[in-house]
Symmetry: C2
Subunit: 177 residues, 2 copies
């Protein structure tokens, strides 16, 4: 046991459980983000107009571009944190052993979870109402926005996993006052 | 001085400054939410159609109803926290003096800031793309969605103030491990 024991510290077995929970949350986040990314970026539809067939891709919806940006940033962060979590679980130590990484977790989780929250909101917001606005007009659009909703729903899970990571990293902060 | 001194504790004057910062953040949050609420709920427009004039209100956009819900919940929480913060600044103590209120702040700030983040995302997402979809067709709609963007922008500030409160309440948590 390399950590300093104190009266409030959980026994080592509990600490190991918490580290594993942390790793599972990181892995679930990355999986959700990858699935959401695939659903979002493969989403295209073709609608008929007086000027012929028009292909609609996810890039044509500005909010979906924002959603994509949040997913990509979330993924980069998620891979990094998964690597850190694997190191933490397998060795029982943090990479530099000091307090700096706790603050990186704390601010990183906060920032990324907020980013994913806004992405989720934007994805649902635009999908629900653009689907409504086009309901009954073009059948391909209905499916297009349903897929947008699906990508947002998976992103919602990624956001929730990151929010839980954020709660854990806040509770793990070294005492300030 | 009622608090136990320790080597890491800031001197009382710093603590007073932090309490005041906390109160200012709560007040700024409430003001932003009220302004956003007014812009959102007074937003109506009238568009001409083959069937006569059609009045469009914010309730017709589902995402705006969600934004309204996040603002109202944020306001209830904001008023409560402003009252607590006034008590804290004027008396120098928390209401029940124990740890419970720190955890209420911590989880409350986290939950409400995430809620406001999703509301901000939904508001911008739907406004930007529905404005795009209707650009050049009906002039009244352009102004309608501009107002939706304005309400979302003010809500973004409320979210940021709450996110800062959330950072402060996380850092104020009693030590766990």
């Amino acid at each position: 046991m390399t950590e300093t024991p104190s009266s409030t510290m959980p026994p080592p077995s509990t600490a190991v459980v918490w580290r594993s929970v942390g790793l599972v949350l990181r892995v679930l986040t990355v999986i959700s983000l990858v699935v959401s990314l695939i659903i979002l970026t493969t989403n295209t539809t073709t609608v008929s107009s007086n000027f012929g067939q028009i292909k609609i891709r996810f890039q044509d919806i500005k909010a979906y571009r924002y959603v994509l940006a949040t997913i990509v940033i979330g993924l980069v962060y998620g891979f990094l944190q998964t690597a850190f979590a694997i190191y933490h679980v397998t060795t029982g130590n943090r990479i530099n052993g000091g307090d700096a990484l706790y603050f990186f977790d704390f601010y990183g989780d906060k920032l990324i979870s907020y980013l994913l929250a806004t992405g989720t909101g934007a994805g649902f917001g635009v999908s629900v109402d653009l689907k409504d606005a086009n309901s009954g007009t073009v059948s391909g659009l209905d499916k297009f926005f349903n897929k947008g909703n699906a990508a947002s729903a998976i992103l919602l899970f990624a956001f929730i996993f990151t929010a839980i990571s954020s709660i854990l990293s806040s509770l793990s902060l070294p005492k300030r006052a």
